[in-house]
């Protein structure tokens, strides 16, 4: 009995491993060889599968997407690049990350014809950086919990004590985009009035917001009613539909530019150029705005969120890693995180 079962287990393990070993080898060869018709894309962006399919349909090139979180992005790309094994043809990340990749020699210059209608600040052909959208941040609230008359009319309203224990936001002592956003408020909303800006921060801190690791976990507690309002991204109104979410109509909306570029040692350089051209095209921008709620820079394309086409959305001034660390320490004191 023991022997029979043992033989059965051994045979089935061999069989399974044989089947999967073939799959593994296929993967290995496709990842390292220069197969025509494939392009590899490293990014941290939501639900881009429809774009991949559309790109494949239009060009016959298969796009392979590897999602790498922002905290691991530079470490992964530099490790692969230094070992001569950067598998990505295209890298896509927030602008400060792309700046560091450019400084590290990872990016190749490229002039894309699709970027013709884009604002000048979004095109840096010589550096190999194209900005195609803005990670816009705003105040998102639960329509069932917040009466229309209570919806904040200005950012400073969030410091009102009526919001005590009702706010969710990404941790301002670690999350780079939240840190940059809070700093940008001073310049773009409080007209560089340091005292007013600090009063707002102290008021916000006194409201005891619930901190989460990043923007990703912010919409769920608002949708479920655990919290009433949050510093979050309006795109979640699209991706979390039909959740009772809306955004406070406050100008300007601000965020870090999303950028992309071609790797200097791209294993598939021609497919990579095609991919950038496609991504910057109106067709791709429309899918990105419609399905993912992204704020794109392609002229005349907006996400399907009421009122978003009328609001001013501006890119924020990016902070260096040193500045981010200093501000993180400052916010740690203000918000009392330990």
């Amino acid at each position: 009995m023991l022997k029979k079962i043992g033989i059965c287990i051994f045979l089935s393990v061999c069989l399974v491993s044989l089947v999967f070993a073939t799959g593994g080898k296929e993967k290995s060869s496709s990842a390292n060889s220069e197969l025509e018709g494939t392009v590899s894309f490293y990014a941290n962006i939501t639900s881009v599968e429809p774009l991949m399919e559309d790109f494949n349909k239009k060009t016959g090139v298969k796009a392979e997407y590897t999602r790498i979180s922002t905290t691991k992005f530079l470490s992964t790309v530099f490790t692969e690049f230094e070992a001569g094994k950067l598998l990505a043809d295209i890298v896509q990340a927030p602008l400060p990350v792309m700046e560091q990749l450019r400084a590290g020699g990872v990016l190749a210059p490229y002039k894309s014809p699709s970027a013709a209608g884009y604002p000048d600040w979004a095109k840096r052909e010589k550096d190999g950086i194209y900005m195609f959208g803005i990670e816009y941040v705003g105040l998102i609230y639960n329509k069932n919990l917040v009466k229309p008359e209570d919806v904040p009319k200005a950012y400073k309203d969030l410091a009102d004590p009526k919001w005590k224990n009702k706010i969710v936001m990404a941790d301002p002592s670690i999350h780079p985009t939240t840190i940059s956003w809070l700093v940008a408020l001073k310049q773009n909303v409080f007209n560089n009035d340091d005292a007013q800006w600090r009063d707002f921060l102290k008021g916000l801190a006194a409201n005891n917001p619930m901190f989460v690791a990043s923007f990703g976990p912010t919409p769920a507690p608002i949708a479920s009613g655990e919290k009433a309002i949050g510093i979050s991204m309006p795109k979640y109104i699209v991706t979390n539909a039909p959740a009772p979410l809306d955004w406070a109509r406050i100008e300007p909306l601000m965020g870090s530019p999303r950028a992309m570029g071609i790797s200097a040692k791209a294993p598939h350089p021609n497919a990579a150029k095609k991919f950038v051209d496609y991504w910057l095209s109106k067709d791709a921008a429309t899918i990105l705005a419609r399905d993912v709620g992204e704020y794109v820079l392609a002229p005349g394309v907006f996400p399907p969120i009421d009122g978003i086409d009328k609001v001013k959305v501006i890119p924020i001034e990016e902070l260096s890693d040193n500045e981010l660390t200093q501000w993180a320490a400052e916010f740690k004191k203000i918000f009392g995180t330990k």
Binding site: I5, S28, N32, L74, S75, T76, K85, A223, K338
Partner: protein, 558 residues
């Protein structure tokens, strides 16, 4: 014999050492290098910055409370459940063999989210229920506290403790207890003077393994600790690598080195307390027979307590997951919520080619990886218990190296290592990484099982003319079956939902379930996340039941 033992020990040291030392060495190099990768100009700046952080003291204190609290809870609960399910005449005992293992199959982030839905102070389902029942104006429970974290982490680590303690409990020689009774001791005294001391190696192994796992755990500290502003080592490291875009894993590794040292000390503490292993032998040539203890009048009350405990602690969170998977967005149960239920999330997940590929890959890694892992673990455990030389001690420490390093950085260590090999970006890198990191899951239950088998049994076989291998196959392995089954389940369910290494090493074609789950989690898609999570639980349950069935057929006494 001694020569054979020596050869086996050295071969295993080379193999296990190669698997576990490489990534850790890379991390140590990274912690001593300028820049973001493993190789740069030598510097100790990262150590100075990491250890002069004024928050570190509070973080360490909270970590100690969290880790000891959760490990104690897991071990005590496991002892209780293992005793009831293996030694008593409790009705539906098989249920209490499956229930403690359930948390092992649930992605930890999902289990944590489920508890947030139940016990958050604003509108947690259980809190709302209690408020309504007793007409209170505030919530009684707040999950975002240290006790909340300890409870959820303790439940998540319960399977580890249970799967180590249960096999030891099931092969317990009841003659020892009977002798105690004959000498006039009551049941209480027998429990503390005989039963628990004899089980000491298993209890300590479970406790220490749970402690090390808690140290590396990230899901509970991030989903429950961070909103409550309670930071432990794992979240401290996360904050360290998250501030700014150029995450310095070298600096995080510098802190990780202390965790590694603490873990190694714990392993030596464990070895010290179980040093005279012959004291714990319960299966010898005289034959052994674990008898069933009759609960008599206590049967029904204990059954009700167990059922309630299992329902509230384990089944309820799973029900919450089923509920979340059916509603369109995160919403509190209401008539509106039930009216809007649909299978949309399920259909999306089942039609998603990447989710299906992930399922296939994870299944392969779970079944094949655990089988390979358990084969290696059997030899390692044999050397650790039966050889017990200094080299065996080195082997035991080596087996814990990758496992002891905080999860948030060990994956980077493997990336720094694999990128220099042809295995990078293949499923084989994941397979090797998994086995190297989670080897203790196979070794611990097997060492506990080996300790209980008297060496006379092997010696009798060898004296009777059987070969070394034949003795191992015909005598040792069958007696080890409970340990093998436990180890296999621990490894397979871990590999099936592994995230730490996978998130860094998986690439298109080698996607795995946990990475797909993380994608849904990062996008706040709790519905799809729960649907995929439940698929994971169902597949894991089937695997566990199958292996338990095979195990019961192989056990010599049944």
């Amino acid at each position: 014999m001694a020569q054979r033992h020596k050869r086996l020990t050295y071969s295993l040291i080379v193999l296990v050492g190669f698997l576990t030392v490489c990534p850790v060495l890379m991390l140590i190099l990274g912690s001593l290098s300028e820049g973001l990768t493993a190789f740069g100009t030598f510097t100790v700046k990262k150590y100075i910055a990491a250890y002069t952080d004024p928050d570190l003291f509070l973080v360490l204190f909270q970590t100690v409370v969290f880790v000891t609290g959760a490990a104690s809870l897991a071990t005590v609960l496991a002892l209780f459940l293992a005793y009831i399910s293996t030694r008593t005449d409790m009705p539906f005992r098989f249920l209490f063999k499956i229930i403690p293992v359930i948390p092992m199959m649930i992605p930890h982030i999902l289990f944590s989210i489920s508890w947030v839905m139940l016990l958050n102070p604003s509108n947690g389902i259980l809190n709302l229920l209690i408020r309504q029942l007793f007409s209170l104006d505030h919530s009684i429970f707040n999950i975002y506290t240290l006790p909340g974290m300890i409870m959820v982490e303790g439940l998540l680590d319960l399977p580890i403790a249970y799967l180590i303690i249960a096999p030891a409990m099931s092969s317990f020689d009841v003659a020892l207890e009977e002798s105690s009774h004959v000498c006039g001791s009551d049941s209480f005294r027998t429990l503390f003077k005989i039963t628990l001391p004899v089980l000491r190696p298993a209890i300590l192994a479970a406790f220490i393994l749970c402690m090390i796992r808690c140290l590396a755990s990230f899901a509970v500290p991030s989903a429950i600790g961070m909103p409550g502003r309670i930071y432990v080592l794992a979240t401290h490291l996360y904050r360290m690598v998250s501030t700014g875009f150029a995450a310095d894993y070298g600096k995080a590794a510098a802190v990780g080195v202390s965790v590694l040292v603490s873990s190694i000390i714990l392993i030596y503490v464990y070895r010290y307390f179980t040093s005279s292993s012959e004291k714990f032998v319960t299966i010898s040539g005289r034959g052994y027979k674990p008898t069933v203890i009759k609960l008599k009048k206590a049967k029904i009350p204990i059954f009700i307590i167990l059922l309630t405990l299992s329902f509230v602690l384990i089944i309820l969170p799973v029900l919450v997951l089923i509920y979340i998977s059916l509603v369109p967005y995160s919403m509190v149960p209401s008539a509106k919520a039930f009216a809007s239920m649909s299978l949309k999330n399920w259909i999306t997940v089942l039609k998603d080619p990447i989710s299906l590929l992930s399922l296939k890959n994870s299944l392969f890694l779970g079944v094949f990886g655990a089988t390979l892992g358990i084969a290696l673990s059997t030899f390692v455990a044999y050397v650790i218990v039966k050889v017990r030389t200094k080299s065996a001690g080195i082997l035991e420490t080596l087996s814990f190296l990758s496992f002891s390093f905080p999860g948030i950085v060990i994956g980077v260590g493997f990336m720094w290592f694999f990128v220099r090999t042809p295995l990078y970006a293949t499923i084989w890198a994941l397979l090797i990484g998994y086995i190297a990191t989670y080897l203790p899951y196979g070794i611990r239950p097997l060492t506990s099982a080996f300790i209980q088998i008297h060496s006379h049994l092997e010696e009798s076989s060898l004296v009777s003319g059987a070969s070394y291998l034949k003795t191992f196959r015909r005598i040792v392995i069958p007696l080890l079956t409970p340990g093998i089954v436990s180890g296999w389940i621990l490894m397979a369910t871990m590999f099936f939902r592994e995230l730490t290494l996978s998130v860094i090493l998986s690439r298109p074609g080698s996607e795995v379930l946990a990475v797909q789950i993380l994608r849904f989690s990062e996008d706040g898609q709790w519905g799809k996340l729960s649907a995929l999570g439940i698929i994971m639980i169902v597949v894991s349950t089937m695997l566990v039941s199958l292996v338990n069935f095979i195990g019961s057929k192989l056990r010599p006494m049944e």
